[in-house]
């Protein structure tokens, strides 16, 4: 499968994700300014910051939902700055959405099946999947992994919020993900569901790295090894979870100066 070019580019790929000087303007407003971030393969990182710090915009630039105004984005060494989203996804990038972005008219099983189909061949296939369809089995396994087997034939519109959040994660795990962007996966989850989420995240295979945006520090800091702190569209600080947590400047900014 691997072409020579792919292998050559992989040689230089000591970063899973490499952003250089990424800026994103909305009219005169700079949502991101000169953001430079490097994440190793398999690294798990949290992006913290108050509302409007540019976290979700950062994700949108990485996935190509909207391209950066300037700067470059490399994914495993390959310059993907001008790739459409689906090309990046096919290369192993995945994301989840802060507000669940599912297919409410389809069943849980079909949602996951589409996710599996999207990163493999036969997206335009006119043939229905048979009994022993490999992707159908992959979808079954994923549904099971996020504890949704009981509702797999229900339409997504009928699911509870927590179940939709779990499905949201299942869609991002389809195929062979190499790097995942989680956008506030714990939003609106109950304490039990949060615990399940932590289990799912910590049990991901070691080669899968991710960036997680999460306001719940209990979740965020338990599932990552490094933290990037953003403020006003810029990278404000990077470090280990403990360093960030105890940094007075961060506390000033992020915790609104509230010293317990």
């Amino acid at each position: 499968m691997d072409s020579v070019a792919q292998r050559l580019s992989a040689v230089g790929a000591n970063a899973a994700l490499e952003l250089r000087g990424v800026t994103r303007l909305f009219g005169a407003l700079a949502a991101l300014t000169d953001v430079t971030i490097t994440v190793r393969p398999g690294e798990r990182r949290a992006v913290l910051g108050s509302n409007g710090a540019g976290k979700t915009t950062l994700f949108n630039c990485i996935t190509g939902d909207f391209p950066p105004s300037s700067g470059t984005i490399r994914f495993f060494g390959e310059d993907v700055t001008h790739f459409p989203p689906y090309e990046r996804i096919r290369r192993g990038l995945r994301r989840t959405y802060q507000i669940s972005a599912l297919f409410p008219g389809l069943t849980v099983q079909d949602n996951v099946y589409l996710a599996c189909r999207g990163v493999s061949r036969g997206r335009f296939s006119f043939l229905r999947p048979g009994q022993n369809d490999a992707l159908m089995h992959a979808a079954d396994n994923l549904v099971q992994a996020v504890h949704l087997s009981a509702v797999k034939d229900q339409r997504v519109a009928e699911l509870a919020h927590g179940q939709q959040r779990q499905l949201e994660i299942a869609l991002a795990l389809a195929g062979a993900p190499r790097f995942i962007l989680f956008d506030e996966p714990a939003a609106g989850l109950s304490p039990t569901e949060r615990q399940e989420l932590i289990e799912i995240l910590t049990s991901l295979p070691a080669h899968i790295g991710y960036i997680i945006i999460e306001h719940d520090m209990d979740v965020a800091l338990r599932v990552v090894e490094s933290v990037t702190m953003m403020h006003n569209g810029r990278v404000f600080k990077e470090g280990l979870p403990q360093e960030i947590q105890s940094d007075p400047e961060v506390q000033e900014l992020y915790l609104g100066g509230g010293h317990e």
């Binding site: 008219g105 189909r117 999207g118 229905r128 087997s149 991901l204």
Partner: protein, 360 residues
């Protein structure tokens, strides 16, 4: 499997393994078998008038509306040019085949003219679709309506190919194996076979990866892109498929009337197809055929009915319009939606304790 997560397997009885949504709902439905049987033995029951003017015409309009149902119901794209594509296909049959206008028609045999017409009409519809997919919602309607209107005026004014407002007359119909395929009974079966084929194809496709992905595009295009799908390519492919279906209907239509003129591709005829699909219901492939039957029955008999009431017979459109309003007002998925809701209402009292209520 990429996910090495070892979730405790939910202890579920194997009840849900049958997955009813994935099989053919019709196979277990006795009503569907009865309808199919009645359609097959129809020539024994109905005279030539009913066979052609009512049932064949219904099926042809139903196929056109089915192509719209596929785009609108599964893809969320309301295209007003489906009749235009059918009309284009009909014109191509007249132009490439044999007709009374010898100076225009090339005189090809039907088995050459038909693939040519289907290919050209599919290409025409796909190109139109490629324009339309750059837009959403009301703008898709506007672009496809503009294509329909432009084609109508073009056929009116072009004499070299489309023979202006007189159109092309006495179009030849196929004769082979000693059968005149435009005779009432053979033609009815040809139409029925094509309609059944299109119906089965759309139903089958709705559960195939292509159709599922199209429904994903309808529900959430942005997420589809984030799952690795090229959303616009999928939409254009949907237009290509729907265009082919509409083109088949166009071939049948020109054989039915043996002529094609700008009147058959007018803007109001384009809108009729939309009305048929919406009245019947755009969530299921059976809807367009029900809508077409209602439309054809009203068009054929409302005239007498209105005259008997002392009204102008040409007001049958008023009845269709009122029916359309009522349907849109009470049921967003047409007659089929009303029926389903009634059935579910019945079923809830008997067997289904709670659940099973439909949205939309």
């Amino acid at each position: 499997m990429s996910l090495a997560h070892d979730a405790p397997i939910a202890v579920r009885p194997a009840a849900g393994t049958q997955r009813p949504a994935r099989t053919w709902p019709e196979i277990n439905n006795p009503a569907a078998w009865i309808v199919a049987a009645v359609l097959v033995i129809m020539p024994l029951i109905a005279n030539g008038f009913f066979l052609i003017e009512i049932f064949a015409t219904t099926l042809i309009l139903g196929i056109m509306a089915l192509s719209l149902m596929f785009l609108a119901g599964y893809g969320g794209m309301v295209s007003l040019m489906q009749l235009t594509i059918a009309g284009f296909s009909a014109y191509m049959i007249a132009v490439f085949g044999v007709s009374g206008n010898a100076n225009i028609s090339l005189g090809w045999p039907w088995w050459l003219a038909v693939p040519m017409a289907l290919a050209l009409a599919t290409a025409f519809g796909t190109l139109g679709g490629a324009l339309a997919v750059r837009t959403e919602g009301i703008y898709t309607i506007m672009i496809t309506l503009a294509i329909g209107a432009a084609f109508y005026y073009f056929t009116n004014q072009n004499w070299a190919i489309f023979n202006g407002h007189t159109g092309i007359n006495t179009v030849a119909t196929p004769h082979f194996w000693g059968v005149n395929w435009r005779a009432d009974i053979p033609f009815y079966y040809v139409v029925l076979a094509v309609a059944a084929l299109c119906y089965v194809a759309v139903e089958y496709l709705s559960r195939a990866p292509f159709g599922l992905a199209l429904q994903g595009v309808r529900d959430n295009p942005r997420r589809m892109a984030a799952l690795g799908f090229n959303v616009n390519a999928h939409r254009v492919a949907a237009y290509a498929f729907a265009s082919f279906v509409a083109a088949l209907a166009g071939v049948l239509q020109v054989w039915n009337y043996r002529q094609i003129s700008p009147g058959s591709v007018s803007v109001s005829a384009c809108i009729d197809v939309l009305i048929i699909a919406v009245v019947g219901g755009i969530t299921r492939p059976i809807g367009p055929f029900i809508g077409a039957l209602i439309f054809v029955l009203l068009r054929t008999f409302a005239l007498d009915f209105l005259v008997r009431l002392g009204l102008d017979g040409n007001r049958f459109r008023l009845l269709i319009g009122l029916g359309f309003l009522a349907i849109v007002f009470w049921s967003s998925d047409g007659v089929i939606g009303l029926w389903l809701r009634w059935r579910q209402h019945q079923g809830r009292d008997v067997s289904r304790p709670g659940g099973g209520h439909r949205h939309g």
